[in-house]
Symmetry: C2
Subunit: 92 residues, 2 copies
Amino acid sequence: MEPLDELRTKIDDIDNAIIAKLAERFKITNQVGEYKAANNLPAKDTDREAKQYQRITELALQHDLDPAFAEAFLAVVIERVIQNHEEIAQNS
Amino acid sequence: MEPLDELRTKIDDIDNAIIAKLAERFKITNQVGEYKAANNLPAKDTDREAKQYQRITELALQHDLDPAFAEAFLAVVIERVIQNHEEIAQNS
């Protein structure tokens, strides 16, 4: 196999794993959304978010990943989570 | 444990796994960057990207994840990968 193809196969395998994890993550955050809707809790929780950004920064540093990238990734995920929470609340 | 705390622990565990996978992914894409720089190949490869978007859409559908979200995620990752490739080429 060409060196580039070999590396790309590894990248594709990682993407398989990340997509599976992201799907699992949204299934759990949707359970959070159901819980919040049932208990009249707001979709957005600033304290929880602050802790998540703190955690992701530390995790990124541990793994030698740019913390700014990790934070940008988390922002995209949280934005979608809140949107899902709002939809769940509206439909409940 | 409160139901919300229990769900949040699961989410944090998933984030640990995703960050580890992202870090691993950039280590491999940096190897791709080194290979491209050594062989005078361009940082951006439109054919490869088209295949990656096709793959990620299929993966998302398999995992019941919104394909638009998966594509947005891949776009953020690829943007950073190309930036890294360009830096590697400039420094080689």
